[in-house]
């Protein structure tokens, strides 16, 4: 019999293997949000996101840009007096959001994540020229020009290869990845 899990329980389960303490240990002190260098671009501060999760406000959390804005500097995780790995929670929320296919419209994060994961599963390696080409056109023409200029520079200075490389025994990697994340079949 399937048990309907609350949203907070689902997030707790996703974070079960996380190094930190469960988010229900949060005392709402605001150290995370006070330390966050990206908080001014976030719809909700990290502390508020924890509050929303605890209160099972799933819709509001999935509609928030907070975890897509996180710069993964880990200041919050290092300083949290309750020992919660908040940066890891941001990743958990990204995974959950992708899994459910629900996220704020117009964000670059979900598109990028999807392209990135597909590329890794398909070739075993990240290849920037192709990666940028898969998601950038949807956003801004100016960015494409800027990225293109930078890529040219990198290629000329020998920091970026022109042709993509693949790993050996790619099938094994793909089998492994499928065991870990529910990505379904990819071509």
């Amino acid at each position: 019999m399937a048990v309907e899990l609350s949203f907070s329980k689902e997030i707790e389960n996703i974070m079960y293997a996380s190094h930190g303490k469960p988010i229900k240990d949060c005392l709402q002190c605001g150290t995370c949000s006070g330390s966050c260098p990206a908080v001014e671009f976030m719809d909700n501060s990290p502390r508020e996101i924890i509050g929303l999760i605890s209160a099972d406000f799933k819709k509001e959390v999935l509609a928030s840009n907070t975890y897509w804005t996180c710069a993964s500097c880990y200041h919050c995780s290092v300083r949290c007096p309750a020992g919660i790995d908040i940066a890891d929670m941001m990743y958990a929320l990204k995974r959950y959001s992708m899994w459910k296919g629900e996220f704020q419209e117009g964000l670059i994060g979900p598109e990028f994540s999807e392209s990135f994961v597909k590329m890794i599963v398909n070739s075993g390696r990240s290849f920037e020229p192709l990666l940028a080409a898969t998601y950038l056109p949807k956003f801004s023409a100016r960015d494409i020009v800027q990225e293109g200029l930078m890529a040219t520079g990198l290629v000329l200075s020998g920091k970026m290869p022109l042709l993509p490389k693949k790993v050996k025994r790619l099938k094994n990697l793909q089998r492994m990845v499928r065991r870990i994340i529910p990505i379904g079949e990819t071509k």
């Binding site: 303490k21 005392l27 709402q28 002190c29 605001g30 150290t31 995370c32 949000s33 006070g34 330390s35 966050c36 908080v39 001014e40 909700n44 501060s45 502390r47 508020e48 200041h75 300083r79 949290c80 007096p81 309750a82 020992g83």
Partner: protein, 668 residues
């Protein structure tokens, strides 16, 4: 079977009867354990009630019971009750056994059938054991009427005065040159804003003048031997280099001393003192000490300015450390606390940013007798701050540092806010997580601060920095914090930041605890005998704790604990004699090989090695009957009274219901 055993099964209301079928257990014992000597078996709603106890007493007298087994709660709770009941009916109290079918059965199980079976097994074990019990007499030892109080802060002062006023002698040992402790460093006390020195110094003077108090300052306890009623403490009196019988405390020596050093202890590093010094003007005793490691004479062999100018010739550079031993009956430890080292939180910038202060530094800054004469100014010594931030919970309520609440910081921070406001007119920001003001008059003080216009920002400060992002922040300290009540990150430019550092156990609390034979919690606070019902006693008889050594607390609570510990000691002194549990280990000399394995294992240092006989001997007054040595002895030469091998093995056999199974295995 020569013994007549009575079995009593308690319902404890529904505590036991809710899970265990008490009537069934009682009936089963009456039938199945009859072969083991059970002549009567009853169940009763509350065995510990006076009616329950009378039931046992009546049976002892009428049925001639020689052993009693009560199946009820843990011996911690009611062993004494039932032993006393037996004694009341002229049965030796040690012939009564209490087995736990509540803590070890009904409270921890949900399966009623299995719990009932378990209760039967536990009871059977008790019955099998009690058969081997012996009648024991408690040990009587005299109580020495003198008391040792360690630590001369407000808790130790209060304890010493209470005992001395009651007419008994006290040795008060203090590590620093003067008593007074942390309270002597404060300017005002919350919430009444009494002048700290004004209320403390009369008590200090009382201690100094009291005929019943021997004050041993600049001294430390080195060694403690003995047991309740008969402790022998070895105390090291560090050399003062001042003959106290000649010194008048006139102060000429410290006026003339040419060398100044930073006073890291009393002035918290904010001020200087001379090398010959008393920590503060109202010091008790008034005699100064010479800080030998910094003294020019001890370093270079010349100077002696103090000796030249001393009008009574009291300086003696040849003084040596002395060891004295005192005999006492009881000991009170009031060793206080250390301030949390705020350098452990580099994000708050202490030591790097000049105008970030610790709470203790601010106490000295605001003190009329302090380095600035009570003027609240920045480190440059003249600028009056226009905006001051006070950070709560520094190092407290934080899994990375101290997980507990330090209890005093909220009120201390409110006091600071008031003093800053009153003396400088500056804008004051208090950064708090939760405001904790749970004592008499404390919430009213918080209300007063709200009315004074203090800015309260709910949020733990993320960092203190001097890196400006906008012109208004140039040259300021910026506190970056989320104001959680509006959900916005704020950067507040300030001139001064005070870190309300938490309090933690003394750095040497664990070693001191070991010296006195008491244990520490994970945070190194001394552990009380019971957290609610026995907060000043310890698991070691005759050793009491008071004040912050037991856990964070404020001045009223420290004074109350000092007085409470004194009351406990006075109670013991008035008994003149004390009876100790006869549950003790004894060495069978013929079996002892003298290997000494037990000597070092004994947590109470109760085992002595007799050089002449080449065997170990256990001091019965010191032994607490823990059984460590009994288990460790490779020759099985140590026996625990009340816990003999025979008793333990019988109890195990009883628990396994071996006796009954054997009976049932025999075909009828």
């Amino acid at each position: 079977m020569s013994e007549k055993i009575g079995v009593y099964v308690c319902h404890c209301g529904t505590n036991i009867a809710g899970i265990v079928d008490v009537a069934d257990v009682s009936q089963w014992a009456g039938e199945k354990l009859a072969a083991n000597g059970v002549v009567i078996s009853r169940d009763y709603k509350f065995m510990c009630s006076s009616l329950g106890q009378e039931l046992i007493q009546k049976d002892i007298q009428e049925q001639g019971l020689t052993r009693v087994v009560v199946a009820a709660c843990s011996p911690h709770l009611h062993e004494k009750t039932f032993r006393n009941a037996c004694q009341g009916a002229d049965l030796n109290p040690y012939l009564c056994e209490l087995v736990s079918i509540r803590e070890q059965d009904s409270w921890v199980h949900t399966d009623k059938v299995a719990a009932t079976e378990k209760a039967k097994a536990i009871l059977s074990g008790g019955v099998a054991r009690v058969e081997h019990h012996e009648a024991l007499e408690p040990l009587r030892v005299p109580i020495h009427p003198d008391t040792l109080v360690v630590g001369g802060g407000i808790a130790g002062i209060q304890a010493a005065l209470e005992i001395a006023d009651a007419g008994f002698h006290v040795y008060l040992v203090e590590r620093e040159p003067s008593i007074g402790g942390h309270m002597a460093q404060f300017d005002k006390t919350f919430p009444t804003l009494d002048c700290s020195a004004c209320i403390l110094t009369p008590k200090m003077v009382d201690v100094g003048n009291h005929p019943n108090i021997t004050l041993l300052t600049w001294s430390e306890v080195q060694k403690v031997d003995g047991y309740i009623g008969n402790f022998v403490a070895t105390i090291k009196q560090k050399a003062r280099y001042v003959k106290i019988e000649d010194c008048t405390g006139c102060g000429i020596c410290w006026e003339k001393c040419p060398k100044k050093v930073v006073d890291e202890v009393f002035e918290a590093g904010l001020g200087n003192r001379k090398v010959i010094y008393t920590p503060f003007p109202q010091a008790v005793p008034k005699y100064p000490v010479i800080d030998a490691p910094n003294c020019t004479y001890f370093l270079k062999g010349t100077c002696k300015a103090c000796e030249k100018f001393c009008p009574t010739g009291a300086i003696d550079f040849n003084q040596q450390d002395e060891e004295i031993t005192v005999q006492v009956g009881n000991i009170i430890l009031a060793t206080g606390y250390d301030l949390f080292d705020v350098r452990r939180m580099p994000q708050y910038g202490y030591g790097r940013l000049a105008n970030v202060y610790t709470s203790l530094e601010f106490e000295r800054l605001g003190n009329a007798a302090g380095p600035t004469g009570g003027n609240i100014v920045l480190r440059d010594g003249k600028t009056v701050p226009k905006a001051v931030g006070i950070v709560h919970c520094v190092g407290s309520r934080d899994q990375n540092y101290n997980p507990y609440c330090s209890a005093i910081c909220c009120m201390q921070s409110l006091k600071f806010a008031h003093l800053v406001h009153e003396r400088t007119g500056a804008e004051v920001y208090n950064f708090y997580i939760d405001m904790r003001t749970p004592s008499k008059g404390y919430e009213e003080f918080y209300q007063r601060l709200l009315e004074e216009g203090t800015h309260f920002v709910r949020g733990k400060v993320a960092e203190v920095t001097n890196l400006a992002r906008i012109p208004e922040e140039e040259g300021k300290l910026i506190v970056q914090v989320e104001d959680t009540l509006i959900g916005k990150q704020r950067r507040i430019p300030l001139d001064m930041v005070i870190l309300s550092a938490g309090i933690q156990a003394r750095h040497d609390a664990k070693e001191v605890g070991k010296l006195f034979g008491i244990s520490c919690s994970a945070d190194a606070w001394y552990i009380e005998r019971h957290p609610k019902l026995d907060p000043v006693a310890t698991m070691t008889d005759g050793i009491y704790i008071a004040g912050c050594a037991q856990g964070p607390k404020d001045i009223p609570a420290s004074v109350a604990q000092g007085a409470a510990a004194a009351a406990r000691v006075l109670g013991k002194i008035q008994q003149k004699e004390i009876s100790l549990e006869p549950v003790r280990a004894t060495v069978i000399e013929e079996h002892c090989s003298g290997c000494r394995i037990c000597n070092d294992l004994c947590p109470f240092s109760a085992i002595l090695y007799l050089e002449d006989k080449k065997v170990s001997e256990i001091n019965p007054a010191l032994c607490q009957g823990c059984g460590t040595c009994v288990a460790a002895c490779p020759a099985g030469a140590i026996s625990g009274t009340g816990f003999s091998n025979e008793q333990i093995l019988s109890q195990i056999e009883g628990l396994l219901l071996l006796n009954i199974r054997q009976l049932e295995a025999v075909p009828a």
